[in-house]
Amino acid sequence: MLLEAKNISFKYGKDTRQILDNFSLSVESHERVGIIAPSGFGKTTFCKILAGYEKPDSGEILLDGKSLSSYKGYCPVQMIWQHPEQVVNPRLHMRAALEEGDKIEERIIRGLGIEDDWLNRYPTELSGGEMQRFCIARALGKRTKFILADEITTMLDLITQSQLWSFLIKEVQEREIGLLAVSHSMPLLQSVCTRLQELDK
């Protein structure tokens, strides 16, 4: 499959800074593309547009040539965020966070090292690394075709970072899921990605 962003322009409201200006990028299913860009480039905003959370002012997001918004129900493009604690419901057990995903396989839960006991905990009772494991699992549902990883291990220690990436790389390879990774760390992207794209204003 092919995920394309075509001539995307975006700003967050009238009289605010132009964040993306006529920006294009494409990712194929067998690729892991790393984005390196200066701060303030709008990397997170770009991910949000690609995943359908924001609508661009102009330009379009195409999945296999069809507009992303024409795919109804589960979105085949799933985003994993930098701060897991901000994207899980603080009032529900972690089990509920997994159930939000698209039929998450037991294999994925085991592969990410999620322990049974954690399912019955609230987000505040887990460390950032443990919570991020749930967020990665949640994004890897049955119908996921592309993963957008926005600084997903920046807040974690090195060993957890390496554990999570090694699982994620194996998983997207086996299932031919395309991956777009955003990070400030060049060595990390060099280890993770098949292709790097450096962007500047």
Partner: protein, 309 residues
């Protein structure tokens, strides 16, 4: 190199929390078990541990602002004398300053300018604050804002400014840079470095080993409530120079050093193993590792592992 004076010497430090289980049963949760850190004047020491490992409590313990149900153990010596709770109260905010982890530490009802100047209105403190703000690209108008009116990044820079107002001899920075852009992270770190170069001791508490290696003089590796190794930053250039199996595992997990990982996660306070906390994940673990492990000097650093040579 000349012998520099020790400003802070923390020895066998521990923090335990009293909790009630099922309403009546009182239990003690030893969040920090054995922590040793020494900081000299003009030195920047980074304590590196993963999130949730109890690092912030160290900062709060030194300042005497730990929660009421926390019990401290061990010894903190500041400037040659034991740091008692009374001394902590007298010194914090003056000689010892904290750059807190969260913006919740600011007074929400006080404007930024007066808050950082602690109400002082004289010309000298005004000029000083203006200078600091300029360095951080904060406009003068920011001084007239309340904390809630600022963005996350502005808040961060304001927190760092608070530490730079006085002439502290010891700066404790608790995860000072999350949420900041990389170039601002570098600028903030450069300021801490400058404070150290001017003679203050700086204790940087962080989860980010790479950041610590960029700016600090020494790195103290913290694992599940215990300091397992105290090493010179240069030791991290080669795996063989490191002493503890966990530090070595961290080294190998760096993307540029192979990106390898070991299985498992850090144990919870409640189910810590006997003896070495890293034992269950360690290849070299033997029966001897289940006993209490002493912190000892090895090749110019310190390590809490009986197999280290």
């Amino acid at each position: 190199m000349e012998e520099r004076k020790v400003i802070l010497d923390i020895h066998n430090f521990s923090i335990a929390f009293e909790q009630y289980e099922n309403g009546f049963k009182k239990t003690s949760l030893p969040t920090i078990r054995e922590l040793d850190v020494t900081i000299h004047e003009g030195e920047m020491v980074a304590v590196v541990g993963s999130s949730g490992s109890g690092k912030s409590l160290l900062a709060h313990g030194i300042l005497g602002i730990q929660p009421y149900n926390a019990t401290l153990g061990g010894e903190i010596i500041y400037d040659g004398e034991i740091l008692t709770e009374e001394r902590k109260a007298a010194l914090r905010g003056n000689e010892i300053v904290l750059v807190p982890q969260s913006v919740a530490f600011l007074d929400p009802l006080m404007k930024i300018g007066p808050q950082i100047r602690k109400g002082k209105k004289d010309k000298a403190s005004k000029e000083k604050l203006d200078g600091i703000f300029k360095g951080f690209h904060l406009k003068e108008e920011v001084q007239d804002l309340y904390p809630f009116e600022m963005s996350g990044g502005m808040n961060r820079r304001v927190l760092v400014s608070t530490a730079m107002m006085g002439n502290p001899r010891l700066v404790i920075a608790d995860e000072p840079t999350p949420g900041l852009h990389m170039d601002m992270v570098r600028r903030v770190m450069a300021h801490f470095r400058e404070m150290a170069d001017n003679g203050a001791g700086v204790l940087l508490i962080t989860h980010d080993l790479e950041q610590a290696l960029e700016v600090a003089d020494r790195v103290v590796v913290f694992y599940a409530g215990t300091t397992v190794e105290d090493a010179d930053v240069k030791d991290f250039e080669k795996e063989e120079n490191l002493r503890h199996p966990y530090s070595k595992a961290l080294w190998r997990a760096l993307p540029q050093n192979g990106f390898q990982f070991i299985d498992g996660t850090q144990p919870y306070v409640k189910d810590l193993p006997e003896g070495c906390p890293f034992g269950p994940r360690c290849k070299e673990c033997t029966a001897e590792c289940k006993k209490r492990i002493a912190y000892r000097e090895v090749r110019g650093g310190r390590v809490r592992c009986i197999h280290a040579v």
